[in-house]
Amino acid sequence: MTIQQPKIDTSPKVSDEIRRTTCYMCACRCGINVHMKDGKVAYIEGNRDHPVNKGVLCAKGSAGIMQVNAPSRLRKPLRRVGPRGSGEFREIEWDEAISTAVGWLNELHETAPHKLAFFTGRDQSQSFTSFWAQNFGTPNYAAHGGFCSVNMAAGGIYTMGGAFWEFGQPDWDHTKLFMLFGVAEDHDSNPIKMGIGKIKARGARVIGVNPIRSGYNAVADDWVGITPGTDGLFILSLIHVLMKAGRIDLDYLARYTNAPVLVNASDGPEKGLFLRDADGKPLVIDRVTGEPAAFDKPGVRPDLSATYDKDGVTHRPVFHLMAEKYLSDDHAPENVAERCGIPAQKIRAIAAEIARVAFDEAIELDQEWTDFRGEKHSKMTGRPVSFHAMRGISAHANGFQTCRALHVLQILLGTVEVPGGFRFKPPYPKPVEAHPTPHGDRRPGRPLEGPHLGFPRGPEDLLLDEDGTAQRIDKAFTWENPMSAHGLMHMVISNAAAGDPYKIDTLFMYMANMSWNSSMNTKGVTEMLSAKTEDGKYVIPHIIYSDAYSSEMVAYADLILPDTTYLERHDCISLLDRPICEADAAADAIRWPVVEPDRDVRGFQSVLIQLANRMSLPGFTNEDGTPKWKDYADYIVNHQRKPGIGPLAGFRGEDGSKEGRGEVNPDQLNRYIDNGGFYVAHIPEGADYYKPWNTAYQDWAVGMGLYDSPQPYLFQLYSEPMRKFQLAAEGHGDRQPPGHLRQRLKETMNPLPIWYESDQHGNEGFTVNALTQRPMAMYHSWGTQNAWLRQLHGRNPLYVPTKLMREHNLQDGDWAKVTSPHGEITVPVMEMAALNDNTVWTWNAIGKRKGAWALQEDAPEATKGFLLNHLIHELLPPKGDGMRWANSDPITGQAAWFDLKVKIEKTAAPSDAESQPEFAPIKSPVGTGPKDLAWKVGK
């Protein structure tokens, strides 16, 4: 018989219209096509033209439709009526909300601006929020970098003028060996997946260094299940082996790094500082003349080997110091193998493979270019080995030096900014000198003199008062953490609660779930937020919080300013901030309201402008007293940081024909919308590698407004600013550290990368490493309110390696008590074989507090899910020296989440079969979501 089959419509109409904007389901900032039907969001897919994701989209991005319609969305401004933490609010009108905030803030602005602590979490408008804070006059501003990945960012800037993610990426098209350190699934997620896919398609080797073989490490050809916190030790051992074998790029080192720069080698206040000429330029020995010369003198051939004596002082090139340090047997594989948990053979094999690919498989592109010394090169030589790392190696107390070590390894191989290696994304490369220093002055009624955050060059840039007290509430840029370039958001609440260094009046936060997964010591933080003085008043008198959703933090604020979702707002992803550039293009993007809010909510940035206008903040006010901007969209188009340079680089000039620099274009947002929500300015061919030294790139960057003049520089294998802090600790200079920090500064501020034990004081008896990572399909707590994503990760077990499962007689589904020096949790376990034998881990921020996120109180997130945060404290256990030392990197203050050590023991399931500790439910200000969903917008 003939088979008859139904006729189906294989060409149905897909949507009425596609609106192209930028995703905000995580920090990746992919381009999305929002398909609209009947004015509603019907389907979201990646935008093929977009520089970040080129059409692909992750699980979070595709689930955006469930986020935009999440029942957890806040609907109206709220004023607290119950005690803090209860979740009891009354809805108020925006007028009252703004007036209340202005009532608290205006007086502070005029009398004591530092009494406002303004901290933003997953903020993608930091150039704007910092501008607001700067004009308010408070020194107390930062985003969440301090508890995220400041070690990686600052380590990169201080070493080579940029790090990974927004700063740069592997040359995926040419690289032949890719080595990945630590958990990296949460930043730059789609580009890295795309990159891994590209090199996998070629069959190139991927090496994963991570105690946990999940995610990207699961596809690694070779897995190094390293002991957490020893990455630096492993990297320095690779450096040892490579240097010893002469498998380093001497030509590259001589030309582009400070390896040949002369360092004062005689004792005294100058020891370890660079020899400089009258213009302050570091000097090298020119191999042609044998004489010292400025590093950038045309024709100079820097010598890596020669020393120089002058006035009885010996000056040695940096490379001498490196040889001395890294050729030492301390770094031999055999001497680190046990601590790293990697056989010496394997360390050597990896070093050999790196050497083989970098030097025996070097590639050459037929592309002429001219360097900053005026020398013409006929080819671009590539060393096709590339690396990537993010929080995994950052979130340790030795993270800054480990990140430096990784950058130094790349530089020694000559694989930064070359074909097949690591490539910067504009506006990077950008050396420390091109970044501001931090500012912390407090002048009532007047703006801060400069940006809050910056990169200290030495003790003179610390934010300390005459008497040594910290100028900032988070004690950033003090001797405790001199190079805390992103601030220390994780210390704000505890310092404010303790009144140390001073009391504050108003805590103002945005998109930061500080009373839950974004704090160490969660319970302690909730107590601090609701702590009262003896007279019954809150220790932190006012808390203002803005969020789009009913997060755990909402319950702890006095005033809630409800934000919009990402499809209902204007945003700009700006070159002034954290842009979306690619290695061969500068790019920025916008968000715009592809749907109008169906609630009484306002975009937070527009609310900040309304607040600024009510207070007539300088910077926001014209000379005649009228406001400069009415809302954020107005600001995005019309604000100019410098003449001709604004938040968006594309479609500038009156007719929209200029890029980078140009007059304000009133039609700029429409042009962006027509262009898919973004703008791309391609780097000309020949300017796209060797960027820090390539005159073609430097000229292009000046034209784009990235710099005001060419900024060629040398990679800083040896960090002179660190040496300056070390010199101070040795007793030199006017500004001296307090006695108790002197020894630590001497040890940790080593100008060449070192490794030191990050195992914390107080860990005796706690021998198992405990880690967290964020699942690729979830972004912190945001994913839980999403009906689709929460089905993927609705609860989190503690993953325990087979060896520990057997030792503790555990089986899947059993419960374990996990204890740290700080706390205790009781949680379900699951066996994992592909895991370091002495490490346990779990997914981050799946656990939820009952009543939050519009979930029902018996949701698995609230009953089975848990946070490891309860085991981590922002301070280390007392040492008996009368002080409490921070649980953070002593250089940058980065929260040392991953230094956590625990012990586990089998235990009976809790009587209610719920993970412990349990918290009292908070009252949901938005109720709970509907029972069932069948979400179809079209008919």
């Binding site: 088979i3 149905p12 699980a59 595709s62 999940s214 070779d222 053979q345 949701a859 917008v937």
Partner: protein, 249 residues
Amino acid sequence: MTQLPTSTDRKMGLVIDLDTCVGCHACVISCKGWNTENYGAPLSDQDAYGADPSGTFLNRVHSYEVLPTESPAQLIHFPKSCLHCEDAPCVTVCPTGASYKRVEDGIVLVNESDCIGCGLCAWSCPYGAREMDMAEGVMKKCTLCVDRIYNENLPEVDRVPSCVRTCPAGARHFGDLGDPESDVSKLVAERDGMDLMPEMGTKPVNKYLPPRPKDQIEDQIDILAPLLAPVAEEPKGFLGWLDKTLEKL
């Protein structure tokens, strides 16, 4: 129609690269989004914000650990959806003819207006590719995005299943596996593409590319000469080597 066609003009299907899949679930949610809004009834969710959320998904990503005897344990992410079998048991068991395999491209579909929701097709499928939608009471399954791959309202480049279009790592490939000259067929030939549960005799069209061998660096690399032969044993010797080498540059 419940009868299988003796042959199909083409064998459209997916090739899934287990060497590349990082387990991100992008395909899972993209599929959910497209197929909720398109072909047939929406993919519903029950107890969406409650204690026991459960919904219809046409594609799910499992994960398995492989424990070789000589090397460390491996983790393999494993996406799974309908394999559009040539000898699809789900089609022949269907009492109403709602389940059928298309003659032109081999796609196995459910005609929802004929489906009585008896579930027998899901029982007959060894792969768990079919899920009953609890709100609609009809059987849902991967359509290979039959409403995308020929859709003239989409740009040609987008006429692929939504899971393939969205996959960030490029671990999913779509094409005609009946044509030995197609890219997917060549990929399968090159990488020893395999069937799941071949003993079931279902002859799946979708193929899986096995993970490449792992953890062999110590066997492959000679850690001494020539790659890592020391230039000198002592730092002094190293500086001598440095001088000599710099001369040659």
